[in-house]
Symmetry: C2
Subunit: 369 residues, 2 copies
């Protein structure tokens, strides 16, 4: 089967890596001829935000999918009209692309998400109470396009673009659940994962799986995942990012209609990874078992501040000596501050052992140039 992926970054790379278990052809559209997927796929140089490029790319593919949601969705609608299979479908990608539509989707389908108001960038009649979060309607990614407005004084920093202003949740934990659905309607979730952010970079720092949550919280999350996948009305793999607040209530922060950083530890931590599951949704195959093998976690390898240029990984050899520790680099030659360059997965027999290992590894490795 000819599988076409919009975007050639690390998610596409790890997807192809896993899907080499099967006999398909992988085609990738990316503007960067040196991207992470360039040498392991049939590569087309082009802009996945450009209508013509996406339309042309999709013509001879059996299925078209994405590894980044910021793609030209009009072209995807047109491909669907032509009878092409697009997974996830254009409608849900469009909904998720635009924060305003995404928030309205949650509201409409009774999926708990923080209260919000729509801001057109010019209004000075803001009703929402301080502190609140401003999320740009489009273009946000990896912590970009999101800011907290604490008080009236902060209002001067307000971006003057279409955006969502939403209540700030008093966060106890950030959680994620990954759910997949195939065209036959079969669905399967991965165990809930705890995401620990790097506050300086506003970027995922590490994952802990399974999350330390009560069965009551688990039930809230299961209900959210079920509602979401029903409402989305699309095959595909989705990562629902959640807040657990200090009163024990779960809120949807946002959803990614694709493979997600919060599922990387499934590569070695679960019977099958998110990459395998995504493959199965693209081919409408029986979904894979997602059982966790004990405790697993992931540490992101992010370009250190003040280093740009040809990447060097300091301390990686020490990491390779550790048992049940797995290095995953993304084939990126150039580092820059905050750039995701790779990650390290770890298996452990307890949460304590896991955190100890992750924290120890963090002291060993530096991504410099």
């Amino acid at each position: 089967m000819k599988i076409g992926i919009l975007g050639g970054g690390q998610l596409g790379r790890m997807f192809i890596q896993n899907a080499l278990n099967y006999d398909d052809e992988f085609h990738v559209l990316d503007p960067n001829s040196d991207c992470s997927c360039a040498y392991i796929s049939h590569f087309s140089q082009g802009n996945f935000n450009n209508y013509e490029d996406v339309l042309a790319f999709g013509q001879d593919k059996d299925v078209i999918s994405i590894e980044i949601e910021h793609v030209n969705v009009d072209a995807l609608f047109e491909l669907e009209k032509q009878g092409k299979k697009v997974i996830p479908n254009a409608e849900i990608i469009k909904t998720i692309q635009q924060k305003i539509l995404q928030k309205e989707f949650y509201k409409k389908h009774n999926i708990p998400s923080p209260d919000f108001e729509i801001f057109d960038g010019t209004s000075d009649e803001i009703k929402i109470k301080f502190p609140f979060v401003q999320k740009l309607n489009t273009g946000g990614y990896d912590g970009k396009g999101v800011q907290i407005i604490k008080n009236a004084e902060d209002l001067k920093n307000l971006w003057t673009e279409d955006s969502v202003l939403e209540n700030l949740v008093d966060i106890d934990k950030e959680l994620s659940i990954i759910i997949a659905k195939n065209e036959n309607g079969e669905t399967k979730t991965f165990p809930v994962t705890e995401m620990v952010a790097d506050e300086k970079l506003n970027l995922l720092d590490f994952n802990i799986c399974p999350a330390d949550i009560s069965s009551e919280v688990q039930s809230q999350i299961d209900a959210i995942a079920e509602k979401f996948i029903k409402a989305a009305n699309s095959a595909g793999l989705f990562a629902i990012e959640l807040f657990l607040d200090k009163n024990g209530k779960v809120w949807v922060n946002e959803t990614a209609p694709r493979l997600h950083n919060s599922g990387h530890q499934t590569q070695e931590g679960n019977a099958n990874s998110q990459f395998e599951q995504f493959y199965r949704t693209l081919k409408n195959l029986p979904l894979a078992d997602t059982d966790a093998f004990g405790f697993s976690g992931m540490l992101n390898l992010v370009g250190e501040q003040n280093y740009s240029g040809k990447v060097k990984y300091e301390g990686l050899e020490e990491v390779l000596k550790l048992p049940k520790t797995y290095v995953h680099l993304y084939g990126k030659t150039e580092t820059k501050p905050g750039r995701k360059m790779g990650h390290i997965n770890v298996l452990a027999n307890s949460r304590e052992e896991l955190l100890e290992k992750l924290n120890y590894i963090k002291t060993l490795v530096r991504v410099i140039s």
Copy 2:
């Protein structure tokens, strides 16, 4: 690092698949522009048996290795002379390529291997007793180039080429141990695996890991692996195929200086796979832990008799429904009788469960056209 591999078959493919965890460039030399590695590497079309082709291919590589042992070894000696890194080294590849040299190597280093005599293809003074095994000096592969001569009548079938005639072992089990060594001299073995052959095809049918052997047999095997790796005097990954005879004695059948079919279940069955370990030998990295996660096994997917042409896998969807079961196809478009097209790995909690699963899967899948 520029890693050059002679041969672009499934072993190379699974090696590259695993090594996509790191930031190297993979280059492959193979005569077939549609080989398993063609689209996932920097591909050079050429003959790995041709002196000029191998020499040219090696020029700009940081390390040169093999995924098949039938390569032009003179070119590898020349590359070494030029200061190139060749792993495993040309000397041990040459020794293993030629059954006569290989048998003499075992004898010289006191490694138990069945008694033998050298046959030049014309002599009629055969001293060895019936039944015996004839192994062609060169060109044997995957059960080809080996035959059993049971009695005087069979002598008419004797190949008239340089070969080894060796005592037929009264086999209780066929076993394999995979051992790796890096340039720092660190060595590590994988757990011993039982290989069950398909008698009709004289080809590996399935693996069972760990092997059901006594600690005394384990000690014999450990001693053999230790002697072998010392005598080989080369970094690299080696698979030593063994016979356990009915008196409890272990004999070396033959050794492969490369990744091996008897190690495929390490992909999901062990903390790290043979592919990861091989990578580490090529880059002189700390060797990976090889602990087994319970019981694991592998079933080869081999082209069915009477089917040639565009491959179809019957029953694969049923297999994908089974928990802890992993399909690995080799990206080969054409099947033919006996061709290795893929394999299926299985995890289990006991040997009985493992055998049950493997046998059940065998009833589900057929490789046809």
